[in-house]
Amino acid sequence: MTSMDNKEKEKQVRAANKARDFELVDKARDGDRRAFNTLVELYQKRVYAIAFGILRSREDAWDAAQEAFVKAYKNLDRFEGKAAFYTWLYRITYNLSIDHLRSRKRHDTVAFDEGRGLESALDKAGHTVGHHPDEVADRKELAKVLHDAMAKLTDKHRAIIVLREVEGLAYEEMAEVLGISKGTVMSRLFHARKNLQGFLRPYVDSGNEIPESITLVAPATA
């Protein structure tokens, strides 16, 4: 199958999903609890993934994700159907996550790195059968450096990378989610990567030998 065929097939699947979501939204508007539950089942993991990617806190992400669905439910009437339901839902999630971060900063609480994220990354980096202990240590160190570099990004930069890389949204979809133009999306994504490079530069300049690869697992999808 060619890439053209794949794209066409993907387009068809998206169109079908969009139509399905619209139907479910209509039913939910009419009070169909099962329809709304279906929407929750379809998008709960994705919404949580976005929230966790931005907030990096299990508790905050869990609350934000649930809150996003509540807000969506309460505002179903405002959903005009111009865009896909999930981009509207993701926008709510993004706004709530940013609100959580602001609230967190106001209360001067640090809740980063809760959950399985870093622990998992370190485990994976260390789980390299047949490698020398020194090399394993190097990989763990690199995993920590990479994790910290991501944490240093601004909220908006981290959010845009999450939307792009975790959710795999297209530029237009990201523009809808973030409420900015497509050009701004591209520019922000570029600067996010650039800043990430800058944060990692000291590690490279210090003469550390970068392992050929660090063992990663594919991100879970809904």
């Binding site: 209509d26 039913k27 009419d30 009070g31 169909d32 609890r33 539950n37 929750v40 089942e41 709960q44 993991k45 949580y48 993934a49 966790f52 990617g53 299990r58 992400a61 869990w62 994700a65 649930q66 809150e67 669905f69 509540v70 439910y73 309460k74 405002r78 959950g115 399985r116 994220g117 870093l118 998992s120 990354a121 994976k124 690199l142 995993a143 990479l146 994790h147 570099a149 991501m150 990378i161 999450v162 890389e165 975790v166 409420g179 990567r193 990430l196 490079q197 990692l200 590690y203 490279v204 970068i210 050929e212 690869s213 660090i214 063992t215 990663l216 697992v217 594919a218 991100p219 879970a220």
Partner: protein
């Protein structure tokens, strides 16, 4: 013609005389050989040039003999004696009959030669007597002149013709093109050696640069040859078999997908720069987190959402929340800065004065009643009804078919 015949006859006579003379001399030779040797031996012994001269000269006059002191010279007499004696001795062994015959034959031969000569002369005279030598010579001169004249005439006629032809030929030629052709040819001749030299130089440099690498090159070529003959399908087949062998016993639908995903990510990570690896790791972290919470998704999450929906419905929305929502909605609607300022001012006004009575008509599902038991006498509703008892609160969902 007569002259040629005379010459021919003359040659024949000479040849004949030469043969006869040689034959006669060959016959006499052995006899003279001993005689002459004996004379020469005597001369050598005395080695007197004067004697030699006298001995060798027969016609020495009397006066000369006297001047030379040879007359009445005992030595001379002695030599003469010797000579006579020698000659006598030599002559004693001679066959005088044959000798005489030889002489006679010789004389005869001479006589015949004279006759032949006379004959030849007579013939030649007869032959040449009738010839007009002047006209003969003139004829020869004329012939020579004629040959020369013919050659000159021929050349004088041919040359103008050749010139005319050459001129005609030249007239039809495009001299500019001809010259250009020559120049091109010359330039090509000049350029070719330069190009050839440059090529040689490049080739030499390339060869020099590869000095010592030819073995590797050859080995590479040889190594690539078998690969050329193997099809992609065969290679993939081999790789697949090798992969299957290394993962023997691990295969099922789940592990296959997992390994596939791991391999894909590892390949990606191998090629990715450091910042891309950071992003990949972030994806991995989020994926691991979602996976870790997977059991909680489903009922737990949904109940949490429903509970939040119910609670938010129970609690009337504050005027502040309503105002803020209105402002957000307004901002999202893309109003101008002036309108946004007015909206913000309105919010501030509301914050200061509060909402007027009767405008807190927030939609509510039910007002919170006093705690305790609630008895429901009768509910009449057409559609789906779902009752959810939850932490002391029972939620009743009503779904009316549209």
């Amino acid at each position: 013609m007569a002259q040629r015949e005379t010459q021919s006859k003359g040659f024949q006579v000479d040849e004949l005389l030469r043969e006869q003379s040689q034959s006669a001399l060959q016959d006499l030779a052995p006899r003279f050989e001993g005689f002459c040797e004996a004379v020469l031996l005597r001369l050598d012994d005395d080695s007197d040039p004067e004697y030699e001269r006298v001995l060798r000269t027969d016609d020495v006059s009397e006066d000369e003999r006297l001047d030379a002191g040879l007359i009445d010279n005992e030595a001379f007499e002695m030599i003469g004696g010797y000579l006579r004696e020698e000659v006598h001795t030599a002559c004693e062994g001679l066959d005088w009959a044959a000798f005489s015959q030889g002489i006679t034959d010789g004389i005869d031969a001479e006589a015949s030669m004279v006759e032949v000569g006379a004959l030849l002369k007579a013939n030649t005279g007869a032959e040449t007597a009738g010839l007009d030598w002047a006209s003969f010579s003139q004829g020869i001169s004329d012939g020579i002149d004629a040959e020369v004249s013919m050659a000159d005439t021929a050349m004088s006629e041919v040359r103008p013709l050749l010139r005319a032809e050459a001129l005609d030929e030249q007239g039809g030629l495009d001299w500019a093109a001809f010259s250009q052709g020559i120049m091109d040819g010359i330039e090509a001749e000049e350029a070719q050696p330069a190009i050839a030299a440059a090529l040689r130089e490049q080739a030499s440099e390339a060869v020099a640069a590869r000095e010592g690498q030819w073995d590797q090159f050859s080995a590479g070529v040889m190594a690539s040859l078998p690969a050329e003959t193997v099809t992609v399908a065969e290679l993939l087949g081999e790789e697949t078999e090798a992969e299957l062998a290394t993962r023997d016993g691990e295969w099922n639908a789940f592990s296959a997908r997992v390994f596939e995903a791991v391999d894909a990510e590892e390949r990606l990570a191998d090629k990715a720069p450091l910042e891309a690896q950071a992003i990949l790791q972030m994806k991995s972290e989020v994926g691991a987190e979602v996976e870790a919470l997977s059991p909680k998704f489903g009922e737990d999450f949904k109940r949490g959402v429903e509970k939040e929906i119910f609670r938010s419905a129970q609690q009337p929305e504050s005027w502040w929340s309503q105002a803020w929502s209105w402002v957000q909605e307004t901002l999202q609607g893309g109003m101008g800065p002036g309108f946004m300022a007015a909206a913000a001012a309105a919010v501030v006004l509301i914050m200061v004065t509060g909402l007027p009575d009767g405008e807190q008509s927030v939609p509510q599902i039910a007002a919170a009643g006093p705690s305790g038991q609630v008895a429901v006498q009768q509910i009449s509703f057409e559609g789906d009804v779902t009752v959810m008892p939850e932490e002391g609160v029972t939620v009743v969902w009503l779904h009316a078919p549209s």
